[in-house]
């Protein structure tokens, strides 16, 4: 299955957006650890903006940058993928339910749905296009990539993929470790065009991904957040070189990605 990668974005530790991270990802500048920060989504009206937590903010910031070059964001079909969803909201509701009055906030409840980030995105850009939200545990980026690529090649239109995860609060953090926030977004198209940055040939392989040798500090981030498993793909895009990437999806399955610059 082949599709074309257009816009791209990344937000993570020492990776403050694609424009400011491309040189680091390409190896022309050293990666330096720095806290990942997501801006408040200026694109949302203030009422909605106040209701968004950091998980949605990371997702929306990545989705915005990846679609900077789009003539009309609202026409893009979307796939949002996240292992944890909004763990801050789930954790707060779990705590609230175990207080004496057991009352939970209605705003938190509607923010607890796994498709909350997608919902805010479509509100923000005024989009009625279809949207899919998937989980995937540690393989959430691969799950989203498979869903987005199959949607693009069968539907015929551009698809925005946004993968994001943020750390869980205590005590959930004790049973589900996520080391830092990370978000990545890509625009996938079923055909080439002026804005295409690379071709992506994708194949599902029903075998455990081969164990890769540990790379540098930047590669090591991959283990700290499901969305950070995109780092090898992002590095291939930044260096504009052909690359073969084996992206773990399940314990016994991976996606084989062949990236070639346009």
């Amino acid at each position: 299955m082949r599709c074309w990668i257009g816009g791209v974005s990344v937000l993570g530790p020492g990776l403050p957006g694609w424009a400011q991270s491309e040189a680091v990802l390409a190896g022309r500048e050293a990666w330096v650890m720095a806290e990942a920060i997501a801006p408040a989504p200026a694109i949302l009206a203030s009422t909605e903006r106040r209701r968004t937590g950091i998980t949605t903010r990371f997702a929306l910031a990545a989705a915005m940058e990846a679609t900077d070059g789009e003539a009309d964001r609202s026409v893009l079909e979307t796939v949002f993928s996240s292992g944890n969803g909004d763990g801050m909201v789930i954790g707060a509701m779990m705590e609230a339910m175990h207080e004496a009055d057991g009352v939970i906030s209605p705003t938190q409840f509607h923010n607890s749905v796994h498709n909350a980030a997608a919902g805010y995105w479509h509100i923000a850009v005024g989009s009625t296009a279809p949207s899919l939200s998937v989980g995937g545990h540690d393989g959430a980026f691969a799950a989203g990539l498979l869903a987005a690529a199959t949607t693009a090649v069968t539907g015929g239109g551009a698809v925005l993929l946004c993968a994001y995860d943020t750390p869980m609060p205590s005590p959930l953090s004790g049973v589900r470790r996520t080391d830092f926030p990370f978000a990545v977004a890509l625009v996938l198209r079923p055909e080439s065009g002026l804005s295409a940055r690379a071709t992506l040939d994708l194949r599902y392989v029903p075998e455990a991904a081969p164990v890769e040798p540990v790379g540098d500090d930047l590669d090591a981030l991959s283990a700290g957040n499901p969305a950070a498993r995109s780092i090898p793909l992002l590095r291939a895009l930044a260096t504009r070189r052909e690359a073969l990437i084996r992206l773990p999806m399940l314990d016994d399955a991976y996606l084989e990605l062949l990236i070639a610059p346009c």
């Binding site: 209605p106 749905v113 498709n115 479509h122 998937v134 995937g136 399940l250």
Partner: protein, 393 residues
């Protein structure tokens, strides 16, 4: 991409285990909602609760044990579903069968229990709590995938109350893209404190059993269910067909539908376009019809906009309750029953439809030859999905 054949299906709901009790209850107009106290939920709520969730996963998969995976296990064991999947596995190869399932909360009940079991002053969750195999959304498709010996992709779709329908639609996408030849698709969602208290916090729980499309409807009754479908390219065996699916977003508000149902119209139009059908080809619309004031009024406007008053429509949530991330899958199976039996199941417990509604709401059961049925699902986050099922040609 279309059509696909539904070569096997399995349903578990408050109406019983298997398609047969679901079918019998629809014909007999015998609902499954009861007033009960779910532990930690709002007192005296009408629920569509599944009885007999006592079948644990096999010992080698014990880590997956939770209410949601037990419900999935029950569905697997009913209607010959497991055997049908194993046959499909042998036909296509284990790596050519995907598992794509919708759920809103998976096994979050296990997390609720882990919180409740802490001693006073204890912060950490109990040591035996297995988050990855219970609470995590991926636990559901992974469980059925390993349980059925499949090696294809496993996807957990979670788009609130459209999850089941959206999973079926994405399964069709994976088959069309050539990634697999068959898919176990559908949804499984179970009662939990978070959902019940959440709907309570929004003031959306009805005081009695839910009565979709009634003028004095006052809210939802939450239910739990599993709906599993085996989807394959059609052969010549006369299986019920999935003729098309369509999705849209509201882009309007997180928990209130667009008042004129623009998103709902978009999803229904997209499904008709996918199936290559005009609205007059649809013989019955199974509504999302949750029984809330806003949802039902919006859906009436949307259905009337496309179908006028020419097509009978009704919600079956008066029987099962709103089974959330399973509802789209459960109601696809109900749509298949309606097609097979020539049945329009009028809204349960409703004498007269809301006089302000302009679409043709059925309130009693009608016998009618049906060729094609549309099933609607809408959810928080502004997610909409419509499926169209049809009799084999």
């Amino acid at each position: 991409m279309w059509p696909l054949a539904i070569t096997a299906s399995s349903a578990v709901s408050a109406l019983g285990t298997g398609v047969a009790p679901l079918r019998a209850a629809l014909h007999a107009r015998r609902g499954g909602l009861v007033r009960t106290d779910f532990p930690g939920g709002p007192a005296g709520t009408w629920l569509g609760q599944v009885a007999g969730l006592d079948i644990a996963p096999p010992p080698e998969l014990a880590g997956y044990d939770c209410r949601n995976n037990r419900l999935a296990e029950m569905a697997l064991r009913s209607d010959g579903f497991e055997a049908a999947v194993i046959q499909a596995r042998e036909r296509h190869g284990a790596d050519r069968v995907a598992v794509i399932l919708g759920t809103s909360t998976a096994g979050i009940g296990a997390t609720e229990r882990a919180y409740a079991q802490r001693e006073p002053g204890q912060t950490a969750l109990t040591a035996d709590f297995d988050y990855a195999h219970t609470h995590d959304l991926q636990a559901l498709p992974n469980y059925l995938r390993v349980r059925l010996g499949l090696r294809g992709p496993a996807l957990a779709v979670s788009t609130a109350c459209t999850s089941g329908a959206r999973a079926i639609m994405q399964a069709a996408v994976l088959i069309a893209a050539g990634v697999v030849d068959a898919a176990v698709a559908g949804g499984v969602d179970t009662l939990c404190r978070l959902t019940l208290n959440g709907f309570g916090s929004l003031g959306l729980l009805g005081l009695g059993p839910c009565r979709p499309c009634a003028s004095d409807r006052d809210g939802v009754s939450i239910g739990e269910a599993a709906g599993l479908l085996l989807l394959e390219r059609p052969g010549s065996d006369g299986a019920t067909l999935l003729l098309g699916a369509g999705a849209s977003s509201d882009g309007h508000h997180m928990s209130s539908p667009h008042p004129d149902g623009l998103g709902a119209v978009g999803a229904m139009r997209a499904a008709l376009a996918a199936a290559g059908l005009r609205p007059d080809a649809i013989d019955y619309v199974n509504l999302h019809g949750t029984g809330t004031r806003a949802n039902d009024a919006m859906e009436d406007r949307a259905v009337h906009h496309l179908f006028g008053d020419g097509v009978p429509c009704s919600s079956t949530k008066g029987w099962t309750g709103h089974t959330l991330g399973a509802s789209g899958a459960l109601e696809a199976i109900i749509a298949a029953i309606c097609l097979e039996d020539g049945l329009v199941p009028g809204c349960l417990g409703v004498d007269v439809a809301d006089p302000e509604f302009r679409s043709r709401v059925a309130t009693g059961n009608l016998a009618a030859p049906l060729q094609r049925v549309m099933s609607n699902s809408f959810g928080f986050g502004g997610s909409n999905c419509s499926l169209i099922l049809g009799r084999a040609a």
